[in-house]
Symmetry: C2
Subunit: 412 residues, 2 copies
């Protein structure tokens, strides 16, 4: 058969890793702390039915929902993004600066189309979001990691690596980061925006979890500090509305929008207008505030139960993050437990049957980095499942660490 | 600002042409034979409302419609494609050979990801579909055109150009082709499939209009003659269900599917499950046959009125195609009328105000090819608008050809 393009080889490894990671999540007997999907209780099913019942009519928005739409997306949905979602966070921009995308990941693909030639460097957090790395590798970029701590990416290390590697892009998930649940501090947001401007590097800010904050103080996006147009903000409706509607967006300055328009045209013309109409009406008909409160209450309770259970059942010396929002926490285990090896046992042992994502898959450096870590999602599991699952998982971990007593642990 | 990737330059020209082409279509005073959108009467608005009313419930398909879905798409929709849409046409394949895409154009992007390196050759019909060319140029492919006649792409010229240019892909729109409305004959379909196998070249068959045939005999797709897996079939639900739901699909052999899976993952993870659930139920609840008859009746009438009106009002010496399906015809004018220049007048003259797409934009060769041609869509205009618009356009053309009498013309 015909020869494949080189990009298919560079992405093959990361794709195989991801298929392995997420492949086993559908066994109904397993309590899954693996997937990053929203709770099914957080899906606005009845609201969507009410909306379609109202607007799917020839004299309402029926034609608009089913006919071809514009490349940029529906004007009223873009207006909602600018006015209701971004302006209150300090992000400036008009409706012309926003494009609707097919889900929250597509902006990464479109931005790579704008900038990435084979061999170009993209700086990412360590650890980082694997699906974005998969896109970067499809574009044959070289990903290099930047150190992070509990306050997110470290600007001093970022600056040193910008100078050394001359990257095209810096990829940051600033809020309730995937996989760690960490949030980039406000002063670092400002510093990173300025590094983009000063060194003429694009900061690609991927912020899909921002709007599910249920404790702590809201922080302005990196984009709010951008004075030169070097920051591109990507986000998603997957967590606040629904992942299945596949709606994301990208906000960029006037120079970049025509290029993003061309990229989107050459990718899939435009995003589902059916989804866009329903989502726009979700906001315009005033469903969002109550729904938002409902899902924040839901996830806050799950987070609290998760943290409490980890602190109770995981061994002494465990470090874990305390996320103020989003869907996961990150745990670093004591001793020399390999979480990749442990996962097989955890999934398959009849008295455990608990899944999570092994930490090393999020480190592009390889070499065993993060092999004592795990990403633990609490979004899609009930409090009861969390209590049971964490106890079982904690007991399994403790059984590997017989010398470590099951005691209260350090807050990471 | 940061330097853009080279692909942004190669696609800039075609993107600008397309924006120019389709930019002026929304003036409500203009009778538009320009756009290729389905009639609004052909959109199943009430059906979609009925379906969502039934299935958007927690105990029905509500969770499935709003939650993350699989990269490949919903199994039942893929089953419908294989069993109901493709098997009757002689195309073999299982549900595992089909992937759902975000609209009918995305398969072209995904297949380019698999194969195209900068400088690779893609053979296309002359004239061809501009939006696909835009994708090919984004991948920095070199497009070379293959001659066609009233029976579609000419296999002898294709073979000669395969030998000469060693292309990675051959792009064909076999049925009611965009822009000409022509249909590739059955024997040529078989020949083209065999050329793909014999020369180890991928035949990318783009067949979105196939299912809106309203006269003549149905023809098996090229894919039905493919014995080696060299043909990839792409199609769309835009014409038979709705463009706004953004649903297309690609059918490929077992070797290619994992690669398409990786490409789709690295593009936008998956296609809207909301759209997919509604579309699957459209077929499963038995709405399709009646809806299909309704839209075929609608378009047949419009085609007939269009052909009758062209024959009546366009000047002697005009050649036009007679499409057995799809949404447009193609006219070649006598004399030395330049349809690009004429368009400005046709859109702006107060007593005309009729649009179409000028022919030369569909010829990648440039050099004035097709500058006496026009693509004339009849899908989105009522029979009354067709009669009025064609009379006005015909009169304008005839006024440019004072020596040619307004008489009956040759059937092309």
């Amino acid at each position: 058969m015909s020869k494949f393009a080189r990009r298919m080889t560079t992405m093959e490894k990361s794709a195989a890793v991801i298929r392995g990671l997420f492949g086993n999540m559908n066994d109904p007997e397993i309590i899954s702390f693996g997937g990053g999907a929203p709770a099914k209780e957080a899906l606005p099913i009845d609201i969507v039915r009410e909306i379609t019942n109202e607007v799917m009519r020839i004299d309402k928005r029926g034609v608009e929902a089913l006919q071809y739409g514009s490349v940029m997306g529906l004007p009223d949905l873009r207006e909602i993004i600018v006015t209701d979602l971004l302006a209150p966070k300090g992000v400036k921009g008009t409706v012309d600066n926003v494009m609707i995308t097919n889900g929250g990941l597509e902006p990464m693909n479109l931005v790579c189309q704008l900038y990435i030639e084979p061999g170009d460097v993209i700086l990412v957090e360590s650890p980082t979001f694997v699906h974005s790395v998969e896109i970067f590798e499809m574009f044959q970029a070289k990903c290099i990691s930047v150190d992070m701590d509990d306050n997110g990416m470290i600007p001093e290390d970022l600056e040193a690596k910008i100078i050394k590697h001359k990257p095209k892009l810096v990829y940051v998930v600033p809020t309730f980061q995937n996989p760690t649940g960490r949030t980039l501090s406000l002063d670092r947001r400002e510093k990173i925006a300025k590094l983009g401007s000063n060194y003429d590097v694009i900061i690609l800010e991927d912020d899909p979890y921002r709007d599910i904050r249920y404790s702590g103080r809201d922080l302005a996006p990196i984009k709010a500090f951008d004075e030169t147009g070097h920051t591109i903000l990507a986000s998603s409706f997957s967590k606040v509305f629904s992942p299945g509607s596949r709606l994301g967006y990208v906000l960029a300055n006037d120079e970049l929008i025509p290029k993003l328009f061309d990229s989107k045209t050459a990718t899939n013309s435009h995003t589902s207008t059916l989804s866009q109409v329903v989502c726009a009406e979700f906001f315009k008909r005033g469903y969002y505030p109550l729904h938002h409160k409902k899902i924040c209450d839901l996830y806050r309770e799950r987070r609290d139960v998760m943290i409490e259970s980890i602190d109770k059942f995981f061994p002494e010396g465990t470090k874990r993050t305390f996320p103020d929002g989003g869907l996961f926490t990150w745990a670093e285990l004591p001793g020399d437990i390999n979480t990749t090896e442990l996962l097989l046992e955890s999934i398959n042992k009849p008295d455990v049957k608990v899944s999570y994502i092994a930490g090393e898959s999020f480190f592009i450096e390889g070499g065993g980095m993060g092999n004592n870590c795990m990403r633990i999602s609490f979004g899609g599991v009930t409090p009861e499942q969390i209590r049971i699952g964490v106890e079982k998982l904690g007991n399994l971990i403790c059984s590997k660490l017989i010398s470590f007593p099951k005691l209260k642990i350090v807050n990471g």
